[in-house]
């Protein structure tokens, strides 16, 4: 216990006295602005917190020390004193040439890692010349059809010095294969590559919408990647289990926390089902969270996430390697909190959200740019958001000590509350499951029945209504508005990218060894039919310049395509 029973009694007694004297007098004269106060997620907040709110806590067991179980305070014993978080701006647009130039600019400005945004056709497994790619090529990310584009994308970027995160899911195996081959060409073997492949399909069905195949084969391909990375890529994060997009879709902090960790548990079970050794794959699992507006709630969420994961991995799944217990995560500030009105205000919002992520102990961070309610960010806007991180890192002093808010009665109480609420949700999901692997089957059942989608749609609608009733103030939108709209400069995507990409594809199909392409695609079909690990045949396909579309079409013909239930 943090406090002696005797002390707690005294504090409780003093609190009552304070309420009936000091507080009461003031409340009679000046009532508070609202009847109830709550976090954005609806967790009630008390007027003041005291040791009595964390009376049941045990310091050693519930908090511990940085670098030790249950890792609430930090996963590293030296926190940011040893190494700052990785400043990693998600970027990609137009052609591989355009994006390569942006990467080199970001690296020259002090960014410490790359994060690749792929365009939608790439993410959905269509080549640039597919009818479904119409109007989408190069729009929200870089267009990658084959290894050839990837070679251009990483031209003059040394893969032994830069770590790369790739936001790619349904065709993750294809893009990972390309990255491995680029490494080989630079004489950097797979075991030396550092970075992350997102490879998280659950959140695609729940919130992000970039799925191709139905859940079962999708999760199986994700597990192929876990298996392959476990064997050959010890420094590579084989998955980034993401709550970010659920939050963007409207989930609250509790749902984000619970659904993400539940997904994590389901992937663990998918790997265990294949008889993989937990302490071989679990250390390479990584997470991705949102940092939203409610400052203390977000900090508490990150702290709670580390504790829940550590306990689950150790106690439920019996992992023995401490690295398996550690929840490492990337954070992105909340895109959905950005406003089109008075866009400069977004710099301030992003700063507060970024600070919450840092105080919550994130391993890497993306800060959004002020103009993203209009378009992809301009170079100038991206630069400001990178500078925001640098100011927090180098000027604010918050990195000097580890987990500085620990011991705050409020933060600890809120961390406990979030843990409790998340565990309740996880229990609900587990109860949906059947058989030996209840979290895995529970997640799939939840998606099939629309459980997650409905939960998120309800939370998102409630939030919107609160804003519209002005119960929630959004500066510049429902209060402190301005009549005049401030013009803002936005990034223009070159509309000729699609034509260019189609021309490059045509040339590629003429010059590559098409017989070999066919052979490797046939082999892929065979391996998929006998449910083997797809990483191996996909590496062979990619090596002879088979395209993302060709490879995904083979798999489409075997697995079919997923159609969502449109729930609103």
């Amino acid at each position: 216990m943090v406090f002696e029973e005797e002390d707690l009694k005294k504090i409780g007694k003093r609190a009552k006295e304070w309420e009936s004297s000091t507080l009461k007098k003031v409340l009679e004269k000046v009532p508070e602005s609202k009847q109830t106060f709550a976090t954005i997620s609806g967790i009630p907040i008390k007027r003041v917190y005291t040791p009595t709110d964390i009376a049941k806590m045990d310091y050693a067991e519930d908090l511990g020390f940085p670098g030790e179980f249950p890792y609430v305070r930090n996963i590293y014993p030296t926190g940011y004193r040893g190494r700052l978080w990785t400043m990693r701006q998600y970027a990609g647009f137009g052609s591989a040439e355009d994006t390569n130039a942006r990467y080199r600019f970001l690296l020259s400005q002090g960014q410490t890692g790359l994060s690749v945004a792929f365009d939608l056709p790439t993410q959905l497994g269509y080549d640039s010349d597919d009818i479904r790619a119409l109007g989408e090529v190069g729009k929200v990310g870089v267009s990658i059809n084959s290894l050839e584009d990837m070679e251009i994308l990483f031209n003059d970027i040394p893969l032994d010095k830069v770590s790369t995160s790739m936001t790619i899911n349904a065709p993750a195996a294809v893009l990972l294969a390309m990255y491995i081959l680029i490494g080989e060409k630079q004489n950097v073997t797979a075991d030396k590559l550092t970075g992350t492949i997102q490879n998280d399909l659950f959140k695609e069905y729940i919130a992000r919408g970039n799925y191709i195949f139905p859940p079962k084969p999708s999760i199986s391909i994700a597990a192929d990647i876990l298996e392959y990375c476990g064997e050959f890529m010890p420094k590579w994060n084989s998955i980034s289990i993401s709550g970010y997009h659920m939050r963007e879709a409207g989930a609250n902090a509790t749902q984000e926390l619970a659904f993400t960790l539940a997904s994590g548990m389901a992937y663990v079970e998918a790997a265990l089902q294949r008889k993989l050794n937990i302490d071989e794959f679990a250390p390479r699992l990584s997470f991705f969270f949102n940092s939203h507006n409610d400052f203390f709630e977000e900090i508490s969420k990150f702290r709670a996430a580390r504790r829940i994961w550590a306990r689950i991995m150790k106690e439920k799944y019996g992992a023995k390697n401490p690295a398996s217990w550690m929840l490492r995560f990337h954070t992105q500030t909340a895109g959905s909190s950005l406003t089109a009105a008075q866009p400069e205000n977004n710099i301030v919002r992003t700063t507060i959200q970024a600070l919450a992520a840092v105080l919550g102990g994130t391993q890497s961070l993306h800060t959004n740019s002020m103009d993203e309610a209009y378009a992809l960010p301009t170079q100038k806007a991206v630069c400001i958001s990178l500078r925001t991180q640098q100011i927090i890192a180098y000027e604010s002093g918050v990195t000097n000590t580890i987990d500085p808010l620990a011991g705050s009665y409020f933060i600890e109480a809120l961390t406990n509350e979030l843990e409790e609420r998340a565990m309740k949700y996880i229990g609900t999901i587990e109860a949906l499951g059947r058989g030996d692997w209840k979290m895995l089957s529970g997640m799939i059942k939840g998606i099939d029945t629309g459980f997650f989608q409905r939960e998120i749609a309800d939370a998102s609608y409630m939030y919107q209504k609160e804003v519209e009733r002005k119960e929630r103030v959004v500066v510049g939108v429902n209060q402190f508005t301005e009549d005049e709209k401030r013009p803002i400069e936005t990034l223009k995507i070159d509309e000729t990218v699609q034509k260019m990409q189609i021309a490059r594809l045509k040339k590629l199909r003429l010059k590559r060894d098409n017989k070999k392409v066919e052979e490797t695609l046939d082999e892929l079909t065979k391996v998929a039919q006998r449910e083997g690990n797809l990483m191996y045949p996909i590496l062979e396909c990619v090596k002879c310049y088979a395209t993302v579309g060709e490879i995904c079409n083979v798999l489409r013909s075997i697995y079919g395509e997923y159609r969502e239930k449109a729930i609103f």
Binding site: L120, P121, Q123, L124, Y126, I131, R132, A133, L134, G135, E136, K139, V140, E204, R208, G209, N210, E248, A249, G250, S336, L338, T339, A340, A341, A373, Y374, A375, L376, A457, S460, Y461, Q464, E468, V474, V477, K485, P487, T490, I493, E495, R563, E564, K565, A566, I567, F568
Partner: protein, 162 residues
């Protein structure tokens, strides 16, 4: 919002009274063209329209222009709401309007998403009646759909008031 002002000028009260007298239920197709997966906005707007008493059909993600136009014909809708946040609006919205014209489908089309201001005039020129950006109040969209379907607005409001 411009159309709200416009409604004030043209007697909003009168319109709401007319609506109360019980015209047929307005039927709306809400659609996500292209490959974009952002559906928070369209789901919120769909629910707000449904809550206001309209019949709302939401297509779900990844619809081709052909599928959307086909659904509009099949369901005989009064209006189509389109949402794109990927930047593909410059290609896909004109394609949808072209198909609607070809098939002589006479419906009101409105849109939302991440659409830069400078793209708006071109979209209004192809007869998308209104574009709703981030931060729009759902009540405004409900009022718009009520008003536009009643008046049969097929052209941008700014042209009517000019």
């Amino acid at each position: 919002m411009f159309f709200v002002q416009y409604m004030v000028n043209t007697g909003r009260k009168q319109y709401f009274e007319m609506n109360k007298m019980g015209a047929k239920k307005i039927r709306i197709l809400m659609a996500k063209p292209g490959l974009d997966g952002h559906d928070r906005g369209i789901k919120i707007v769909s629910r707000a329209l449904r809550d206001s008493g309209m019949e709302v059909i939401y297509t779900g993600l990844h619809q081709t222009p052909e599928q959307i136009v086909e659904a509009a014909v099949q369901k005989d809708v009064d209006a189509i709401g389109l949402s794109i946040l990927s930047g593909a609006h410059t290609t896909l919205f004109p394609k949808i309007m072209e198909l609607l014209n070809e098939k002589r489908v006479d419906v009101i089309v409105f849109a939302g998403g991440i659409i830069p201001d400078e793209d708006v005039p071109a979209l209004k020129n192809i007869k998308i009646t209104e574009i709703f950006g981030p931060g729009t109040n759902t009540e405004d969209i409900v009022k718009f759909v009520n008003y536009a379907t009643l008046k049969g607005l097929r052209v941008p409001l700014h042209r009517l008031s000019a």
